[in-house]
Amino acid sequence: MNAIEICGATKVFNRGRSNEVNALAEINLTVEPGEFITLIGPSGCGKSTLLRLIGSLIAPSSGQVQVHGKAAEQARLDRDYGMAFQTAGLFDWRTVAKNIELPLELMGWSRTKRRARSAEMLELVKLAEFAKHHPRELSGGMQQRVAIARALAFSPVLLLMDEPFGALDEMTREHMQVELLRIWEQTDTTVVFVTHSIPEAVFLSTRVVVMSARPGAIAANIAVDLDDRGVALRDDPAFFKKVTEVRTALREAEA
């Protein structure tokens, strides 16, 4: 069964009014389990809208979005999604550990199980000694790692990320990318990742989905089959070749 199946989904905001926006036109997209796909495209191409359609935070104007064979809405109610946004969006009044435990609380996990899982997740994002800190005491990069730990805490089958590293400096960003890949390999989740950055898209994903704007549409699907995604990959000619390929596709999409 496909992890995500989108058939002819469109999204029109403010339909029938003067400020009507045709955000997405006829999107067809299939994602297989375990894929790491990246949505990339110019501003306003509807990549965040598409991500929110998949996550059922907004409903499509027409067409269908299915996740593991069920409607996206149902998948959300079944808590299949883990989400991370551009801002970490941690709850300031909760400690780091409590932030990670938030979805577990909502799902009715027992206190001991929650504790154990948040400790485990903090270990995973290398923040174990910050369990009792509050978000504002952490740097932006650390907060973002907590947000990712929170998104992964209940082992969602699908991880949706909207430019989660957008606000980070370049060094932290590269570290986070490596961390994310490590976590992805360890957990077997399917990831949909929105980004502006071509190198980020190539470095992270097994497939880059290039989008064009007004109305948002999928312009190209570029498979990325690089094997070793370590630090060395960033200097690899194969890596640069893919970056160029994505860049060319983007340019064509904009033309």
């Binding site: 999604y81 938030l102 504002r136 952490l138 650390m142």
Partner: protein, 318 residues
Amino acid sequence: MPSEDPLVRDQRSTQQATSEARRDALARMVRKTVTFVVFLALLAGLYTGYKAFGQAIDDAQQDWAVVGSVLPRTDNLNMPPLSEIFGQFGETPGGQDQIYIKILFDEALFTLREAAVGFVVGLIIGMAIALVLAQWRRLEQGLLPYVIASQTIPLIAIAPIIVIWGRKNFDVFPWEWQNWMSVAIIATYLTFFPVAVNGLRGLQAARPENKELMASYAANWGQTLWRLRLPASLPYLFAAFKIAATSSIVGAIVGEISAGVEGGLGRRILREAFNYTTGPDRLFASVLGAAVLGIFVFLVVIGVERLVVGRQGKGAVV
């Protein structure tokens, strides 16, 4: 040894910064206390200095138009010396068997009870209004003007009405209705308003990405309220509680005066005002008592805020 890994470097500087923040907090508290004491001393100095100045003019038989017209006269009837005002606390007024400060303290407790009950009831009503208005935006437009208009009715006008209603109509309650409860309702009238207005703003203050997050977890209304919207509204609520707490004291004192309820600071101030010519320092002392009570409840709210909100707002160290 400098680390090459920015994540580890991050962590080290965060730990360091946290301990520095704690030291800073202590220094801030000391600084605040010193400032407060210095300010009090300045006020006392100003009072005494002005009084001495006026006295000197009097003695020299000079006429300064401002003193005694725009500014108060400086004789002991208009401005009792500080020593006598504070000395009054230790005196035993005629017909009493307790020293004045003990009497004031007991009456402050009486007023505090009215104010506290008024505060709590006002808090509940205010939060209920905020919740309802936050839930139905259309109601907000329709109802909010009335909530605001309610505050334009002078307290002195409604106080007697509430007391009369209390005596005659409030026998539905399982307990016997007492006059101080009517005063508590008068205090409620002042306290529900800031809570309702700020609570409404606070309940709408949750960040959009946090709301989306809760939606992605399929959190229900109650979960979202309890885990996101209420905590996010706390800074707004505590700002309201500070206003409401001091207003509750004002409401209780004014309520006592206009309702003629015995036993509290309001009644005390009214009585000392009647007897002003024979003991002006007692009026000053009782007003000071009321001021201290107001400051006390304000500090209590700040203390509770520290406990509840704790570190989240402060200590943004990185």
